[in-house]
Subunit: 120 residues, 2 copies
């Protein structure tokens, strides 16, 4: 594994948990999967369609998103919106995020960079 | 899966990526795995030993942490410190974290809560 792969792996791990927050926050305004994809892209949080669509189905199954079929067009499309349960989860995840941010910031200032001392 | 499990699952996913940042930031000051465990606990980011120790070995293998055996005690202990590569990754992950925070905040304000309109 080269350095680039290591970086990418850790970045993806960091990003993974935030996609759920982004989807729940964005779909407080009802929208389609395709629209969400482009909204995330524009916001700088680009997510692959092959990651996003299964995630939306998972969140729907967990009743965090409500879905309705929009049949007004020739091709029926699923419209999602964040459910009441989803809003609660979003609030909980935002609280967790803020707590993690505070912990990281405290750890950073309490543990400055210090070269390893020679062990006796 | 009940609501509690759903919440826990999503919280863990959110937390997972941040443990690497916390370890790299904290071990800028050299320390033992056990010490890191209690530092994380005190900072509000408690991590299971069965998660942390394999992570430390993975980070060492990726040369993000440097390790030395401290044999001054009767029981040899491994002392870790964040390597130059690890410092670079930490900076990259912190930049990613800040970018995700900005995106989430922008998505949140651009997409207010709005009940689903009746589809025609």
């Amino acid at each position: 594994m080269n350095d680039e792969d290591v970086l990418t792996g850790h970045q993806q791990e960091l990003r993974r948990g935030t996609v759920v927050m982004a989807a729940l926050a964005t779909l407080r305004t009802p929208g389609y999967g395709y629209g969400l994809l482009s909204v995330l892209e524009k916001s700088g949080m680009s997510v692959d369609a092959n990651t996003l669509y299964p995630l939306l189905r998972r969140l729907e199954k967990q009743e965090l998103l409500a879905a309705e079929w929009d049949t007004s067009d020739s091709r029926p499309r699923k419209m999602y919106r964040t459910s009441e349960e989803g809003l609660k989860l979003l609030a909980a995840l935002e609280a967790e995020w803020n707590s993690l941010a505070a912990s990281l910031s405290a750890l950073r200032s309490a543990h400055p960079h210090e070269p390893l001392k020679e062990l006796s």
